[in-house]
């Protein structure tokens, strides 16, 4: 089952690479490393205290068909977050779950909002920085008097900033 999805993912990656090649054709071939790095795919979700996602975003290669699977993996990882969060004093819980090639990293804010990042193999430090920066953004959203806690974050600005952070730290 999941190998099939993986294959699809690989197809997507290849398609993505092809696109980039085409785009980069005039520029030269020395950018191939960049292409490989950009091919990574991320799914980021902020989960509220009532277990519903407040914010969702995808970085890198978008995989529409697998979206439910991504959500499922992240959703299932919440069970692990519940266990793991009491074993550490920090907010960053590192990688909490793994499904096939996917890793779920988590970050729990003091108000029990959970930041979940579904990614492929990746060093910890950028993810930690990404989470910390997102936490800052989330705090600012909470400070907005028009934002009611635990409701969907619909702000365009927030979305744009998260994508900027993802570009900075992840992609």
């Amino acid at each position: 089952m999941s190998t099939k999805f993986l294959k699809e993912g690989i197809d997507n990656v290849q398609i993505g690479m092809d696109c980039h090649r085409e785009m980069l054709q005039p520029g030269g071939s020395h950018d191939s490393m960049l292409i490989v790095v950009m091919a990574a795919s991320f799914y980021f979700a902020i989960v509220g205290t009532n277990d519903s996602p407040l914010y969702e975003a995808e970085f890198g290669i978008q995989r529409e068909e697998n979206k439910y699977l991504q959500q499922f993996v992240v959703h299932a990882a919440l069970d692990l977050v519940d266990d793991v969060q009491f074993m550490t004093s920090g907010c960053y819980l590192k990688a909490v779950d793994r499904y096939n090639d996917w890793t779920v990293s988590a970050y729990v804010t003091p108000s029990n909002a959970r930041f979940m990042l579904l990614h492929e193999a990746k060093p910890e430090d950028p993810i930690r920085s990404f989470f910390a920066a997102c936490h800052e953004l989330y705090l600012r959203t909470l400070l907005n008097p028009f934002y009611e806690a635990n409701t969907s974050i619909l702000s365009q600005a927030f979305d744009a900033k998260v994508h900027t952070l993802a570009k900075k730290y992840l992609i």
Binding site: M1, Q71, F72
Partner: protein, 1444 residues
């Protein structure tokens, strides 16, 4: 041979089958020694009898085979698939889950496991399933049993055992002689035969007597069943998937035989097999393991690894396939055998240590299969041994074993890996270590979908069994994975089951979460309790909705967890499963839940929609088939209710006669001038208000929006309506349609679009039509019905209703069809879009009666009365010339400078006009008086089909963009129309509440008024007379290219007449004649000022004003009425008297306009009334508007209204007028405040603090009203006027003249309320010194130097309300020059008590100190000083004085 016969007669195939049941749980009850020689008690042991041994190749684990296996397992439990007892709609119950066993959730796993175990075959790398002992059975009927035994030892199976099995030559032979009791022939010889056998083979022999039921009569059926049960039970335990066997086993056996069998098996074990194994263990242990354990052993093995491996390869290793194995006589294999035997005898500790040693050897030889086997056994031993095993001790062993089986061996040993997983899982379950289970189960290879699915399902259940709480989220994830795999393996039933479980758990947990946050409200909203109504239909409909809500909550089928992708996936999959299973209605529900989710990517939305349509087509086909076969009308043909598009019934509007503009309905008309409105605020929008007559078109406007991001089309959009005849008796059964509903052929809704759809309904019968819902074809395929229902308003009357939300019967969208209603069609003709300010323009309103019944009364209401002048309506048929309509301005050649006329001073409702029906009042006098203002003769009635035209004059009153509302109401009932102006009645209330309901249509007209002339007025006091004022009018032409000629200026006032200070002649210096040819013209951007002097009209020649008639003053009326309104319990009901108005005209051009007795006067008065009402509304916000007529007059005495007529030169010859009303020339005293003082009597006592508070608020709001702020308040004024100067010289010295001056000192009282008694002291300059301090030197040299009052300087007098008193005083002056004589001191005190009986108030006044003093202090007692010097020139003949 013969022994087989013994079995055959008992319906058992082989002897192994005969013994099989007795191999389970053989109670050995012996104490044996473990590996270290320590004794331990062996309670029970299991053995397996088989009649065949071969080293079969292990299963390659074909997918189809496993599928078949699993299908077989599931087949027995098809009823169980639908049963999801552990998850309900309320979610996963923690206790229930903890109590139940996993096997009960998925019984097919247990079956599968059993089959898997049965399929297991002996393998080269382990000694399990290899024979330990060989049981040779010979029948007692054999002549020579010993020979037979020898013969048996050469049997090929025995040979295979000796060559291929692990036991090899060490296999134990056990000899059993079976005696068939029926064979009586050998009964005597059997014992001797057994003796022979025993002698030949030693102690490993036994004899078994069977088939004791010789007589075949049976010892009773129960006994028979018991005997048979021994085998059937065993069979069903080991082959649970197989159908129960019909055969009866042990037909000729009794319980005695069963006991004999059991005993012989026990003997076999205790006496022979276990000692044999113990012996082997000892031997093997000495040979191999003991020397290998410990430090020395390790060193030895290390040495062997490095130095002796080359020889080893040849001698001990052999390859089967490409995997390496050890020969059975190699030390490694022997160690394995030793460990296995120890394990079999439940000596797990010893076994584990041996396995560990063996494992190292296998690893060093890279015999991976053997290594994996050993590793697995290490783990198993640990788990068997340790009750509280911790993770680190066994998990790595299993992981290693499984990965070795799967990846390191040459051909992946799936079968063994799965066996390992199963064993591990079972042990974990046994120890309740559920948290380790999923990790193990999930190692199953994905290549076999069904197996993968099964294991994932188990893993999911293991997550449910997690303590302390079930891990629902992980459960749902793995259940979903499992469902996918089941789907892939072609087992949709199980896939559906898993998805349902996910759906239920996630949905339930989420709704529980929501419940927590939203709390009670959500549930209350979900199920609105409906009040039962006596009306059958309503009850019926409410019952329907009740049932629909009930089913809705029961089949809470749509997935909703706010994880959009998860929801849509689950719903979609479930829908597809149901579709495949042909459960179409369930599938519909899932698919419908999919619709309307805008978070799903458009591609998927399109797919879902496609599949939904597909589903419908399929279900239709199915239904058609069903119908053919069984004449059963399927329910799928009835339209489903879908969430797209979203139609909000709250936004739905019903518009009567949509081809006409404006809002239609039954309006309530009030006669206080306020806008006609929908009858009631509480029931607004209900059916009662909307009605139409037969044959009229009603349009239903629906706002629908598409929640999807893809476009959809709706075809044949129409409405479902219910028609209720107006009374049941008149129901005609003609079958003709009661109404027609139009159909919109197609509506295209792009993604996220909101659009409006209009559907027209034409009723054909009287009754009522209510709209039930919308009906359409989605994408031209799927018939959809959308309910449009609104709950009624929330009831709040009884306690029960307050406690739970109860709603009135639904107020359906609908309307009444009433044949008696008038049906008028109104059009406004020639209405301009823009108008110059002040200019007039004629328009007309055409009203056509298109109904069946004559309209007997009609009225017109306009929101801006100052914009309109309404003329008498006339019927079209009368062929009235349009030009004959009265012109706005009645031009005359000459007009008097001053005219007086008595007009009503009642503040009227100027917004409403009667067009058809009876005019106001009945008496001709009243009629005439009213006509004076309204100038409107209504027509009597409007016949069907006839048209009447109402000419209107439209005037641009104020600059700017205006939205004018116009409402025409009509009724066929003449009595309905009782609109009357407020008149004096005893009961004010009955008048104010006069209202009637009429079918009305409200228009909105947009009008832009562009600026033309700007007129400003300013007022100055005149120096000549305290009553005289100078009024200046500035006229500025702000229009860029308008040349106007001023025609006439007209002032009207109740007190003043105005005379121009500058004549037209003086405006144009140099022109000769006054009257002829002089026109005041004003080009663009030009300004002109006109200055007038305002003098009281009744001024006598000597400059004194005749006193006013106090009783008739409008101001006094206001003071009295307002005081009564505030303090008395009886509200005022007196209307103000009429007032005499003075019209002063100044003709500026060559024509003049007659203002009096023309329709223009009425218009101006109405405009005035509107402005005044607006002003009052702003100032007296707390007084209801209906009281304005009784409190305030239309004209104030001292106000001046100004009208300036003009006409355009050239161009379109437009003419118009500008007006300024209410120019206040009056006294500075604020008379309204006087009304705030409480009267002495007639004050209503206030019992409640609230009432008092209310009154306080009212009083203070009046005192602080916007126009009162900043008003100078001084009730008394002193004016000095030099009458005469006498120049006399008393002294002998010339040149020192003495002037005696007579001064008339007038004290004016501006108060309407108080008469004052006052003391006036005239002060001379030197008197001032007396009051000043010693060291202050006043300047007595200047104007103050040389004069003094002579004669009486102190006067006591009294002055009436609004009166004047004059005294004469003299002063003498020594020198000529200008002196300031304004030196006086006035002490005034309001006249009090009975003395002031002349005060003509209706409520007698008395001074009561206990009353509120707030508004009294200023005007009741005052000390006044001059606030302005009064200079007088002495010594010259031209006397110039300046008075205050």
């Amino acid at each position: 041979m013969n022994a087989e016969n013994v079995c055959k007669v008992n319906n058992l195939d082989t002897f192994a089958d005969l013994l099989a049941p007795f191999g389970q749980d053989v109670s050995t009850q012996i104490t044996i020694q473990d590996g270290q020689g320590a004794p331990y008690f062996l309670d029970k042991i299991n053995i397996k009898f088989t009649d065949e041994f071969s080293l079969g190749k292990q299963h390659a684990l074909e997918a189809t085979e496993i599928n078949e296996l699993l299908q077989r397992s599931v087949a027995g439990h098809s009823d169980h698939i639908q049963d999801l007892s552990f998850v309900s709609g309320a979610g996963v119950g923690n206790e229930a889950v903890a109590a139940e066993d996993i096997s009960s959730w998925a019984p097919w796993y247990t079956l599968f496991r059993q089959q898997w175990v049965n399929e297991t075959k002996a393998s080269e790398h382990e000694s399990f399933l290899h024979p330990v002992a060989c049981l040779l059975v010979v029948s007692g009927s054999e002549a020579d049993p010993v020979a037979s035994f020898h013969e048996l030892q050469r049997h090929p199976v025995v040979h295979r055992v000796q060559t291929q099995s692990f036991s090899a030559t060490n296999v134990l032979f056990y000899y059993m002689l079976v005696h068939d009791e029926r064979d009586t022939a050998v009964l005597q010889t059997i014992d001797t035969k057994f003796d022979q056998v025993r002698r030949a083979f030693g102690q490993n022999t036994s004899m078994l007597r069977l088939n004791s039921n010789t007589d075949l009569l049976g010892t009773g059926s129960s006994d028979r069943a018991k005997v048979s049960g021994v085998w059937t039970n065993h069979y069903s335990a080991t082959h649970p998937w197989a159908p129960p066997l019909e055969k009866s086993f042990g037909t000729i056996m009794t319980m005695r035989d069963v006991t004999a069998l059991r005993d012989s098996v026990k003997n076999f074990m205790v006496k022979s097999v276990i000692p044999h194994m113990q012996y082997l263990i000892r031997v093997l242990s000495e040979q191999t393991a003991n020397q290998r354990r410990g430090i020395t052993g390790r060193l030895f093995s290390a040495g062997r690894r490095y130095f002796g491996s080359s020889t080893k390869t040849n001698s001990t290793l052999k390859g089967i396939g490409s995997d390496l194995y050890f020969r059975y006589d190699s030390p490694e294999a022997m160690m394995r055998k030793l460990a296995d035997y120890s394990f079999m005898l439940k000596d797990y500790r010893f076994a584990q240590s041996v396995y560990q040693v063996a494992r190292r050897d296998f690893q060093s030889e890279k015999a991976w299969k053997c290594y994996a086997g050993a590793q697995e056994m290490v783990g198993l031993s640990k788990l068997m041994l340790e009750i509280h095993a911790t993770k680190a001790e066994f998990e790595s062993n299993f992981e290693d074993a499984i990965s070795m089986y799967l990846h390191k061996t040459h051909a992946p040993q799936h079968f063994l890996a799965v066996r390992c997983i199963i064993l591990y899982y079972e042990l974990l379950k046994h120890h309740k270590l559920y948290s380790f289970a999923p990790a193990a189960l999930l190692r199953v290879p994905e290549s076999t979908a069904s197996l993968f699915a099964l294991m994932n399902e188990q893993a999911a259940y293991a997550y449910l069994k997690h303590s302390p709480r079930p891990e629902i989220r992980r459960f749902s994830f793995y259940a979903m994975i499992s469902a996918q795999a089941y789907q892939g393996a072609g087992m949709p039933d199980l896939a559906y089951r898993c998805l349902r479980a996910v759906h239920l758990t996630l949905g339930a947990s989420f709704s529980a979460m929501k419940q927590d946050t939203r709390g009670y409200v959500a549930t209350a909203e979900e199920k609105p309790a409906l009040v039962e109504t006596p009306d059958d239909k309503l009850a019926d409909s409410s019952a329907k909705t009740d049932s629909s809500t009930a089913t809705g909550s029961e089949n809470n089928i749509a997935m909703y967890s706010s994880w959009a992708a998860i929801d849509s996936y689950i719903n979609h999959e479930l829908g597809r499963q149901c579709m495949v299973a042909q459960r179409y209605d369930e599938a519909f529900m899932y698919f419908m839940a999919l619709m309307g989710d805008d978070k799903v990517p458009p591609k998927l939305q399109a797919k879902y929609l496609q599949e939904l349509l597909q589903l419908f087509l399929e279900s239709c086909e199915k239904a058609a088939e069903d119908k053919d076969s069984s004449e059963n009308d399927s329910q799928f043909l009835s339209p489903v209710e879908l969430s797209i598009p979203v139609i909000d019934p709250h936004l739905a509007r019903i518009i009567m006669s949509p081809e006409l503009e404006g809002e239609d309905g039954l309006f309530i008309w009030k006669n206080d001038g306020s806008s006609p409105s929908q009858s009631d605020t509480t029931s607004s929008g209900s059916m009662a208000d909307r009605c139409c007559s037969v044959g009229e078109v009603a349009a239903v406007l629906l706002v629908m929006s598409n929640p999807l991001t893809i476009g959809v089309t709706l075809n044949n959009f129409t409405l479902d309506c219910r028609f209720d005849p107006i009374d049941d008796d008149s129901q005609d059964e003609s079958g003709a349609p009661k109404y027609e509903v139009s159909t919109v052929p197609s509506v295209i809704l792009e993604g996220g679009q909101t659009t409006m759809v209009t559907v027209q309904i034409v009723p054909h019968c009287a009754g009522s039509i209510s709209i039930l819902g919308a009906r359409y074809l989605l994408c031209d395929i799927l018939p959809t019905f959308k309910q449009l229902r609104l709950p009624g308003r929330r009831l709040n009357n009884t306690k029960e209703q307050q406690l739970k939300s109860t709603y009135a019967p639904e107020s359906t969208l609908g309307f009444r069809v009433d044949p008696t209603l008038p049906r008028l069609e109104m059009t406004l003709e020639e209405f301009p879009e823009s108008l110059m300010s002040g200019s007039m323009c004629q328009v007309s309103l055409r009203i056509e009666n298109r109904g069946q019944i004559a309209c007997k009364s009609a009225a017109l209401w306009i929101s801006h009365p100052s914009f309109f002048d309404i003329k008498s309506p006339h019927l079209m048929a009368e062929d009235v010339d349009v030009d004959a309509v009265e012109s706005m301005y009645a031009y005359k050649d000459t007009i008097a400078d001053v005219e007086t006329v008595q007009v009503s001073n009642v503040l009227q409702n100027s917004s409403t006009f009667i067009l058809v029906g009876q005019a106001y009042g009945n008496s001709p006098a009243e009629l005439a008086k009213d006509r004076n203002l309204q100038h409107l003769v209504p027509i009597e009635q409007l016949e069907p089909g006839s048209t009447c035209v109402v000419p209107l004059w439209l005037r641009g009153d104020r600059v700017g963009a205006h939205t004018l509302n116009m409402c025409v109401g009509a009724s066929t009932d003449a009595a309905l129309l009782n609109m009357r102006p407020p008149r004096t009645t005893n009961n004010a209330k009955s008048t104010t509440n006069d209202l009637c309901r009429m079918r009305s249509r409200m228009f909105e007209i947009d009008l832009l008024v562009t600026p033309s002339l700007r007129v400003n007025a300013f007022v100055r006091p005149s120096t000549k007379n305290p009553h005289e004022r100078i009024l200046g009018i500035d006229v500025e032409n702000v229009h860029p290219d308008l040349h106007v000629e001023l025609v006439q200026a007209t002032f009207s006032s109740g007190y003043y007449r105005l005379t121009p200070l500058a004549t037209t002649q003086s405006l144009k210096p140099g022109s000769g004649d006054v009257k002829e040819g002089i026109k005041v013209r004003l080009g663009p951007r030009q300004t002109i000022s006109l200055v007038y002097r305002a003098l009281p009209y009744k001024t006598s020649a000597n400059g004194y004003t005749t006193p006013l008639d106090l009783s008739a003053l409008p101001e006094l009326f206001t003071v009295n009425a307002l005081r009564q309104y505030i303090y008395s319990s009886e509200k005022p009901s007196q209307l103000p008297d009429s007032i005499d108005l003075v019209y002063s005209n100044q003709i500026l051009g060559d024509r003049s306009v007659g203002c009096i007795h023309s329709s223009l006067q009425g218009f101006i008065v109405r405009a005035q009334a509107t402005r005044r009402r607006n002003m009052l509304r702003a100032n007296y916000s707390l007084i209801p508007e209906s009281y304005f007529s009784f409190l305030f007059p239309l004209f104030e005495t001292f106000g001046i209204d100004f009208v300036l007529f003009w006409s355009e030169i050239g161009g379109s010859h437009r003419s118009g007028h500008h007006s300024i009303t209410g120019i206040d020339l009056g006294v500075p005293h604020d008379y309204v405040n006087e009304a705030l003082n409480p009267p002495s009597e007639g004050v209503t006592r206030t019992w409640l603090a609230d009432t008092a508070q209310e009154r306080e608020t009212l009083i203070s709001s009046i005192a602080n009203r916007p126009s009162a702020i900043g008003r100078y308040e001084r009730p008394l004024d002193v004016v000095m006027k030099v009458e005469k100067t006498e120049h006399c010289t008393k002294s002998t010295e010339p040149g020192s003249p003495l002037y005696i001056i007579d001064v008339a000192i007038s004290v004016y009282n501006h108060s309407w309320r108080y008469a004052y008694s006052l003391t006036l002291d005239l002060l001379s300059p030197k008197d001032l010194d007396l009051g000043s301090l010693e060291d202050v030197n006043l300047d007595n040299t200047g104007s103050r130097a040389a004069w003094t009052w002579i004669g009486q300087t102190s006067y006591s007098m009294s002055v009436a309300q609004h009166g004047m008193v004059t005294v004469n005083a003299n002063l003498s002056c020594l020198a000529s020059g200008v002196i300031d004589i304004g030196l006086w001191h006035l002490i005034a005190k309001a006249a009090t008590g009975e003395e002031t009986t002349e005060i003509p108030f209706s409520l007698a006044y008395s001074y009561d100190t206990s009353r509120n003093m707030q508004f009294r202090s200023k005007s009741q007692e005052c000390n006044l000083y001059p606030h302005q010097p009064c200079f007088v020139a002495v010594g010259n003949d031209d006397k110039e004085s300046e008075a205050v």
